[in-house]
């Protein structure tokens, strides 16, 4: 994760969580927070492959 941020992926775009299969509420909460924080960052266009240039 640190290396991803180190090479220019914004903090918060990549997150790790440890959720047991029994922790359904935690799962929902985490997904909500992650989507909210990533939405706040907006789309990352750096790490998106552009279509191959032809001629």
């Amino acid at each position: 994760m640190n290396l991803m941020e180190h090479m220019g992926i914004e903090p918060g775009r990549l997150q790790f969580s440890w959720i047991s299969s029994a922790e359904s509420t935690k799962f929902v909460d985490v997904v909500k927070t992650v989507t909210a924080s990533v939405k706040a960052l907006g789309p990352n266009t750096n790490y998106k492959k552009q279509a191959v240039k032809v001629a």
Partner: protein, 352 residues
Amino acid sequence: MKVFTIDKKDWDAGIERTKLSYQVFGPVKEKEWHCFKALDKDEQPDMTYSNTRLSPKFLVQPQTEPMFTYTLDESQPDHHILKEVNKDTSPKAMVGIRPCDASAFLLVKRNFDAPQYQDPYWLKAYNAITFVGFACNDPCSTCFCTSAGCGPFHEAGLDVLLADDGDRFLAKSLTDKGDAFLAAAGWKVQADDAGKIEAMKQAAESKIGSHVSTGNLKAKETTQIYDAPFWEDTAFSCINCGTCTYSCPTCWCFDIQDENRGNSGVRLRNWDSCMFPLFTIHGTGHNPRGAKVQRVRQRFMHKLKYYVEKYDNGIQCVGCGRCIRLCPVNIDIRRVCNLMNDYDPAACVCPA
């Protein structure tokens, strides 16, 4: 064949004029090293350089080159049918290319312009270029061009040969394309001492201190050199990277790949290297050149034996010395070439 004299004061303006008719490429220092690139307006080729770090072959055979486009969208009438990519065939000039790199294209051309098949991508790119070569007055210590069928003033593959003579360039036009380039530059003063190029050539050739012997390669039996004991020792240090092949002006091997983005895609070709195990592995997992020693041997056998036999026109090497300078572990083609050339299975009783 005319020889012009170009006062260096008139050089920049002439280059600018050629940009009206050509896309001009030249050696430019980027970061630590020189490379060939398209020159912008008022950008000049650095005519003090020695040679580019990587060979200029990428201008004819880019490392990644689109061949076809296609759509996978079945609502389109031409879905799944490949369409040829148009190649930019507008006139280009490579100003300052070294004679070794220019003549390397001729060796590669034998592969891409064969009697039975012609590679349209390579040929279109090659034919669009006017090669304005730049003779070497001061070859490097790793240059062995004169014994590799080439030389610091070698003319084959060039349209113009430029020689640096202090405050002027001598420009020898070698083809109609060369005449056209010089006319576009507006350099019109013919040299009254054209013979000077020959003297400069002799001087430069005498500075080449490094040589290979190639005379016996053709007559040697393929299987005998192939089974020679020196390959294990030669290959040991090799890390099987593609540096030698990617920097080589006479290596042309490539891979073909389809890349899709959604429903549209491109069939590309990318440089490939005989150093990589993936190059030859079968679908079944069997690999005819699965061991490092086999791959190292393939590279040298191809350049110095298979090519020699196939075309009967010298080795597939122009002696530019890049692979020697860039190899991370100092595998030296001069040493290997001499080992191969001198190999006598009868005399060799011990490992090299």
